[in-house]
Symmetry: C2
Subunit: 377 residues, 2 copies
């Protein structure tokens, strides 16, 4: 339980700002974690990821266990050395990708047997193996293996799935034992059913984790339902432990979730959108493929200090997006990650100043009025 | 004719080292020019291109005239501002790409009519239009439009093509007039026929250019034939003008051509190979896809100071190449361009020390003995 120290420096309604102290560095919260799926935040060098203001990155157990393999990474000195990122790394458990990418899945109480989406090879992931893989990678924050239920699902289906996830959480907690300095987060499941979410929180608290993920959201339920679940869940979580809303999200999702007491986020949106020619700005998302930018000498976002905005015009970005040039992915990913980190910084400041609610209102008005309309990811 | 000043600081047999002084900067020679086809050296930021040691980049008239268009780039402040490269830029005339990429080409004495490979739109390139486009781009060194004859070709075909290229060169010279500070290079053609090469040199010298390209090589004739052509051509070129071997080449081509008195080179090999998982080293080219690198904790090239070599293992590079990650293209392109610039620096030093011949012998022995065999591009 000594894997992290969480310090809350300010509270503003349900929102809070602070810092997660880990052996490899301090994560300022609310925090956005760029996704470094296969040992790289796509189209970025790790030095740039740090320059955007990110304190921590996420890496995917599923991808790395299949290629290049957790034992191989361990032999090469661990994931930090392998991918040249010396700051903290949070690893997921692999469960979500097994459900969404692998084929021929067979779930039993033991774990999940599946075939690799890369080469069809057979693999087995159990709560214990997920802990072992994350230990081999050298993760700073481990997530427990859970079952990610499909959406929509009946209450009975969610209840059955939740029971399995809670048994797995207990085994994950037992497996991590005293064997290392990594933190371990449990994951609250329970779909859109408040009493199941609360049952999940209750069971996880009995086990006791360093922090708590809220899983199974942003899977199609919509923002209003997601916020309802947060409002039914977060007040039951211990105040002194970080809360991580997994796989979220869009800028307005993040703003709303921070107001509802969430501390940590991850999402592929800024990186994936960057590779697809979409740029996030304070005035909404822009689609750089749009011909209206072909002669636009203005910067992407005049408030942004990233290289895409300080050294290039929208016309240039339009040109390289249209031409399929790699620099388009590099610059737009850099910009989007900078925007997400700037947003997190602004949220931390607003919480610190006690202005998070008016900040959120101003942000949403400006962001949703954006020219190319709101991003849908 | 005031577009450049060429200074020779050392000579060693046929080889020389020196500097081309241009309004936007000094190009140390022998020089390798990275290719920035469509306003970007693929997978690189311009700052990195400069960090590799490159003093000048090449941009392609054909690509830029089609997308985003020369007039558009001029309105946006010229190519340097557009692509964020403040150093010198050499532009080709577009002729080579028209021959290799465009469809429905129709060549007349006036110029060449063709359809874009991007959208099928019809375009016309004449010697005068090629000069105009390069002026709109803001090129520092313009190349004249020439016809790139197919290989192999009969002596009669080459003679006819050469005559057209020389008429076009004369019109290009007339078109550039006194309208700017850019330098203009003529291009020696004549296939593998020494007397035609010499006729071409003679006619170009009568027109008088700031420098001389040697074109129509590295098109399949082989290294020995290419060196034969250089030996039959270079001694007839004026000593006090830079000589540019166009589209060359492999490291051993460059070394041999420097010994034969060539000053400037360009080739897509380091950038394209980088995107294909191939790395150039002093011990030959390595194919990072090779499974032998999966557990190799050593750096790509222990002599190299580029980020790929100082911050990553061969095992990591193998992983990201196999996984198709953009960072693989970024790191390997950076490495390859660093290698090419390190090679040019070593050649300049060897010429300065009067040791270019033994340097070349040592280089070739080591390079050709490399583990994965010689690159064929």
């Amino acid at each position: 339980m000594s894997g992290l120290r969480f310090e809350i420096s300010a509270e503003d309604g349900g929102a809070r700002s602070g810092a997660v102290h880990l052996a490899r560095g301090v994560v300022r919260t609310p925090a956005f974690m760029p996704v470094g799926t296969a040992g790289t935040v796509k189209a970025m060098l790790p030095e740039w990821v740090a320059e955007t203001g990110a304190d921590i990155v996420l890496a995917n157990t599923y991808h790395l266990m299949l290629r290049p393999g957790a034992e191989r990474i361990a032999k090469l000195g661990g994931l930090h050395a392998f991918m040249n990122w010396s700051g903290p790394i949070l690893t997921d458990s692999g469960g979500y990708q097994v459900m969404s990418l692998a084929s021929l899945r067979k779930i039993t109480d033991d774990g999940v047997r599946f075939r690799s989406h890369i080469d069809g090879s057979e693999h087995f992931l159990s709560p214990e193996r997920a802990v072992e893989i994350q230990r081999l990678l050298g993760s700073d924050i481990q997530m427990v293996l859970d079952e990610c239920a499909a959406y929509p699902a009946t209450e009975a289906e969610i209840e059955r799935s939740l029971a399995l996830s809670m048994r797995w959480a207990s085994r994950s907690k037992a497996a991590v034992g005293e064997r290392g300095a990594a933190a371990q987060f449990g994951i609250v499941q329970g779909g859109v059913y408040p009493h199941l979410r609360q049952r999940s929180v209750h069971e996880l608290l009995e086990m006791g984790f360093d922090g708590y993920g809220v899983g199974g959201l942003a899977v199609g339920e919509g923002q209003a339902a997601m916020f309802d679940v947060l409002e039914a869940t977060v007040p039951h979580l211990p105040k002194d432990r970080p809360r991580y809303l997994m796989g979220v999200g869009k800028p307005d999702d993040i703003v709303g979730a921070v107001l509802r007491g969430t501390d940590m986020f991850d999402c592929v949106l800024p990186t994936r959108s960057g590779r697809n020619g979409q740029a996030f700005t304070w005035k909404g998302a822009l689609n750089l493929r749009n011909a209206r930018y072909a002669d636009d000498a203005a910067p992407l976002d005049e408030r942004c200090a990233c290289p895409a905005c300080t050294s290039y015009s929208r016309a240039y970005l339009h040109h390289v997006v249209k031409s399929g040039e790699i620099i388009a992915s590099m610059l737009l990913t850099w910009h989007n990650l900078t925007f997400f980190q700037d947003l997190m910084r602004a949220l931390r400041e607003a919480v610190g100043n006690g202005t998070s609610v008016p900040f959120a209102a101003r942000f949403l008005t400006q962001y949703r009025g954006g020219k190319d309309g709101e991003s849908d990811g």
